[in-house]
Amino acid sequence: MPPEPLLQVRNLRCGYGRIEAVKGVDLEVAAGEIVALVGGNGAGKTTLLRAISGVLPVGSGTIRFAGEPIERRRPDERVALGIVQVPEGRQLFGPLSVLDNLRLGAFRRGRARTRVNLERVFALFPQLAERQDTPAGTLSGGQQQMCAIGRALMAEPALLLLDEPSMGLAPFLVEQILETVVRLRAEGVTVLLVEQNAVAALSLADRGYVLETGRIAYAGTGRDLLGDPVVQEAYLGV
């Protein structure tokens, strides 16, 4: 029997009010994998990540993390379990300093861990160390994204959910962010990556899902999806 996946989503439905944005999604992420989730605007990618983090209530279906059902857990409990998200649009605490943003990332981890993790984040993103006293809202776009990822790493994620980390960034920064993702996986972090930059995401992912109006339209290894003519035409702009 294959080992149980780290994250297992079964027949998940959820949305906003009467609008159902995710209409019965099945998805799995095994420990150590990078899984990409691609699809057009309004396909339900962000909604799905919010449901996994627990900031959006689940309509029906199940979410299991490390074998345990979590769909009724509070968001802060899920962070404590190791599900940490870098949300779309960074969502930093703008008026607070970079350092405070990072410290708050470790809100559920204690003081000793905070110190260790802070060093780790500063080693990964030296620019954050230089600007640790500036309000996070005044950072440049790339630095904001680093701060958002750094804040998530402070929580010691077992599963990192990344929502459009390359959005609005210059190409060399996109590359830097995606390299970071690969590096994190090498350090043992499992990654579920949502990207509009589908080619880049699928190239570095082990497996991928294509989400279309709230349903999984295609699933496969990153390479298979990149080579699939239908996926190419619809999502990769080839």
Binding site: R74, F93, P95, L96, D100, L104, P135, G137
Partner: protein, 290 residues
């Protein structure tokens, strides 16, 4: 000179109480965007609970502590029973909820206590101090010192502790706060409890000077709101400055023009701020970049 100093101290004393009410407004507004018009009732509860516990034989410090606890518990209940269930409601709806809560608290206070005015003994005697020919009540110094201590304590909490930063983080971005593992519901409850406790302390400190009754909350809420608006709503420093300025304006209007117009000053201030200075004295544009 004597008259000026007299009015100055009178103004600073009432201003300090307005500042505490305004600070309560600010704390709740920052954390939840709710303008809590029940804020004045916490001041009332502070004074009334202390009076009744003290008259029942409880030593004054314990009676005051009891009053702060009762007010904080009321604030907690207000959040969990009335505000939290209305999650997602519009700001206007939430304001109406808090006005309803304020009427309810006042009604209950009228039944549980009574309709009379009550006094407390001054904490350290009634012998006025002479300063530049003016007579200053020692209780005024208690009000000023107590309010100053609270402002400082709150500042240290918000700036220096991780929990205080979690409150500010929740205010800045609730979604992100949930995603880093802050239990935002708990933070909001905390904001209501702390606001209520701050209001109650104001009520306790000022009762020996101004007396209290079940109905003092309404006017205090309006004055505190005016002070918060004047200082720039959502800004804690502004709340303190706004409170003191409003208190001074009232005192000097009463002394130099006529005490008839004293309560009108607050409303004049609200109107002027709305027309001429919607950001308030210290209101600032949000720092941010998309």
């Amino acid at each position: 000179m004597a008259e000026f100093v007299q009015l100055l101290f009178a103004g600073l004393t009432t201003g300090a109480v307005y500042a505490l009410v305004a600070l309560g407004f600010t704390l709740i507004f920052q954390a939840s965007e709710v303008v809590n018009f029940a804020q004045g009732e916490f001041v009332m509860l502070g004074g009334m609970v202390t009076v009744f516990a003290y008259n029942a034989g409880v030593p004054l410090p314990l009676a005051a502590l009891l009053a702060v606890v009762v007010a904080a518990a009321t604030g907690t209940l207000l959040h969990s029973l009335a505000i939290a269930p209305a999650k997602g409601a519009t700001v206007v709806t939430l304001i109406i909820v808090t006005i309803g809560a304020s009427i309810l608290i006042r009604g209950l206070a009228q039944i549980i206590f009574d309709k009379q005015f009550h006094a407390l003994p001054a904490f350290s005697g009634d012998e006025p101090l002479r300063v530049f020919g003016a007579a200053i009540l020692p209780q005024s110094l208690w009000v000023l010192g107590g309010s100053g201590t609270i402002v400082l304590g709150l500042w240290l909490f918000m700036e220096r502790t991780l929990l205080g930063k979690a409150v500010r983080a929740t205010a800045a971005n609730r979604l992100a706060a949930e995603l880093v593992g802050i239990d935002t519901r708990l933070v909001l409850t905390l904001a209501f409890a702390v606001s209520a406790a701050i209001g109650a302390v104001g009520g306790i400190l000022v009762t020996p000077i101004t007396l209290t009754s079940y109905a003092v909350g309404t006017l205090l809420a309006l004055k505190g709101f005016a002070a918060a608006m004047l200082g720039g709503i959502g800004n804690p420093v502004g709340a303190v400055v706004g409170g003191l300025v409003l208190g001074l304006l009232e005192a000097f209007a009463a002394g130099w023009i006529s005490s008839t117009y004293k309560d009108g000053v607050a409303f004049l201030v609200i109107l002027l701020v709305l027309f001429a200075l919607p950001q308030g004295l210290l209101g600032r544009a949000a720092v941010g970049r998309v």
